[in-house]
């Protein structure tokens, strides 16, 4: 009996130890990145966040272009990806015949299984030339002619640039947002839905007036989860963004993101300050995604509790 109690304690202790280990892992990542970034933080201070110089020769580094590129590409991805993902979720929950629900849902999820680098190589050789020859000239001829707003679509259509990266990211976050949204749509009690149909609502009205208000927090959580993914996405963006450390007003121009700068320059960085500046960019990225993902998680927890009631 004594032995069994000891064994039980050992087993419980071991599992607990590993759980604490996972917990510490997050802290260790932050700490290591902070230590690695320390020389750059000391050298540049807060100007690192707003300075757009990136001069490896003079050893002056500013993170503004990379931070700007990360945020702008993610915004484009959300503007395109969220409506598409909502459409997919609405289709799967309201419109799709039940026998097709699983196969189509699985295919959409396979879109999430394709590795980032495949999106990158496809974006570089297929999507970018297509955008360059058709979509970008069209955007320039239409949106580009609007005074003021048109500056977003000025400059030559290169194919590679911020907009293309945004497109690729939109495709990549779509399956994540669609999967979460579909799951939270499923938490709507059938009674509510049926009552709405009973008083004569159309499917679109049920989605707008019943499903979306009921699941609002969960949908926002799913969108934030997608945003977290888009911010940190590396390889696909590295292929198509064009890798230029400057902030251009035009979305057609090449730019860079935090993750693309890291992927491109880290192993070739000369001098400790260069490496350290890149690590500081990584720390900033990790911090931003941490905040976004934590917010997403809190929102999804709320809808889980609501569903459990």
């Amino acid at each position: 009996m004594r032995r069994q109690q000891l064994e039980d304690m050992l087993f419980r202790g071991t599992t607990k130890l590993f759980a604490v280990g996972v917990l510490l892992l997050l802290g260790a990542i932050m700490l290591a990145l902070f230590i690695g970034a320390l020389p750059a933080i000391r050298a540049f201070g807060f100007t690192f966040l707003v300075d757009s110089t990136w001069n490896p020769v003079k050893q002056i580094f500013g993170g503004a272009p990379a931070i700007y590129g990360t945020i702008v590409t993610s915004i484009i991805a959300m503007l395109i990806g969220v409506p598409l993902a909502l459409g997919v979720a609405i289709f799967l929950t309201e419109l799709c015949p039940p026998s097709l629900r699983r196969p189509i849902g699985t295919l959409i999820e396979l879109l999430a299984a394709i590795p980032s680098i495949i999106y990158g190589i496809w974006g570089l050789f297929v999507l970018a030339p297509f955008l360059q020859s058709t979509v970008q000239p069209f955007l320039k001829a239409t949106l580009g002619e609007i005074p003021g707003f048109g500056i977003l679509f000025s400059g030559p259509p290169l194919g590679l640039g911020i907009l293309t990266a945004g497109f690729i990211l939109a495709v990549m976050v779509l399956p994540f947002i669609a999967a979460v949204t579909r799951d939270v749509f499923m938490t709507v009690p059938p009674m509510l839905r049926e009552s709405a149909y009973g008083v004569g609502c159309t499917t679109a009205e049920v989605v707008r007036n019943i499903v979306l208000p009921f699941t609002r927090v969960g949908v926002v959580g799913g969108v934030m989860l997608g945003l977290g993914r888009a911010l940190g996405e590396t390889m696909a963006v590295t292929f198509v963004i064009g890798n230029a450390h400057r902030i251009s007003p035009s979305l057609l121009a090449p730019g860079t993101t935090i993750s693309a700068s890291l992927a491109n320059e880290f192993t070739e960085a000369t001098g400790p300050l260069y490496t350290s500046s890149l690590i500081e960019l990584g720390l900033i990225l990790f911090f931003i995604t941490f905040v976004v993902l934590a917010a997403a998680k809190l929102m999804l927890l709320r809808i889980e509790r609501q569903a459990a009631k």
């Binding site: 069994q4 607990k16 759980a19 997050l26 993902a85 309201e94 299984a113 680098i117």
Partner: protein, 280 residues
């Protein structure tokens, strides 16, 4: 137009748009797979699997990269799976309530979506710099860190699905808790847990970002885990970005190999999961 017709028209437009969105997503999936087949199949031949990566302009294959990917994926899975399973066990069996479990669950979900390039940076600072050189071990550790949260999540979910009656029956026979967990709960949930491991393998098989600053790359065949090692994702990255046509062709071949391996792993994992669902 009457109100009724307007409402019907609006309903039609919205549903058509949602159908269109789904169609577009599926179209992109098939376009990507189609491009991979069209570009990748002609690039694959016996030499791809037997020769090492060539210098530009000469013949070669991807043998060293395939070997490196397989070895690092296996090492990462062997390291990450036990950690993940034990943590998942704690969350499900001992941590249904309590602050530690709640916080671990939260942190685990964040690690699940954390940018993989940041994990690569972490391993660079924590392991590559102190060791003084890039190595396949560092690459494996970076991949293992990505495996852990996936396995934790699926293990916990799968153990939670095991009916309480099964555990209670074992307890009633006088079995200590660890025996109940290992001999009853694990056995009941084994298919689901395997699914989690396969999904984790599928996830890391194509990961590139964490390998860039850890395993780096190696032009030659190497079986030394303590030295830089070639791996498919990094080779694809390097070759696809190069201006050489024969390198780009090899990159497509590698891309085809990785994608279909991952898709097959995913499909098997799903079949395992639904099969275990049927037998309950």
């Amino acid at each position: 137009m009457t109100l009724y017709n307007r409402r019907r028209a609006r309903n039609f437009v919205i549903l058509a748009l949602s159908l269109g969105a789904t169609g577009l997503a599926l179209l992109i999936l098939f376009l990507i797979l189609g491009t991979l087949l069209a570009e990748g199949v002609p690039a694959l031949n016996l030499a791809t699997f037997t020769q090492t990566t060539p210098p530009p302009g000469s013949q070669g294959g991807l043998a060293n990269a395939i070997f490196g990917s397989v070895v690092m994926t296996i090492a990462a899975t062997l390291v990450g799976t036990p950690v993940g399973i034990l943590t998942g066990t704690f969350l499900s069996e001992y941590g249904r309530t309590g602050v530690l479990a709640e916080v671990t669950r939260f942190v685990n979900d964040i690690l699940l979506s954390a940018p993989s390039i940041a994990i690569g940076l972490f391993v660079y600072v924590a392991i590559v710099v102190p060791m003084g050189h890039f190595s396949a071990w560092a690459g494996s550790i970076a991949l293992a860190i990505i495996v852990i949260p996936v396995v934790v999540r699926t293990t916990e979910d799968m153990l939670n699905l095991v009916p309480a009656g099964l555990r209670e029956a074992a307890f009633a026979l006088g079995a200590p808790q660890w025996k109940v967990v290992v001999m009853v709960t694990y056995r009941a949930a084994i298919q689901g847990m395997l699914t989690g491991v396969m999904l984790a393998v599928a996830r890391i098989a194509g990961e590139t970002a964490p390998l860039l600053f850890t395993a780096l790359n190696n032009q030659f065949g190497s079986t030394n885990m303590n030295a830089p090692m070639a791996n498919l994702p990094v080779v694809i990255f390097q070759f696809a970005m190069s201006p050489y046509a024969d390198w780009q062709r090899l990159a497509w071949g590698g891309a085809l190999l990785i994608t279909f391996t991952i898709l097959i792993l995913n499909i098997i994992a799903r079949m395992l999961a639904s099969w275990s669902g049927d037998t309950k």
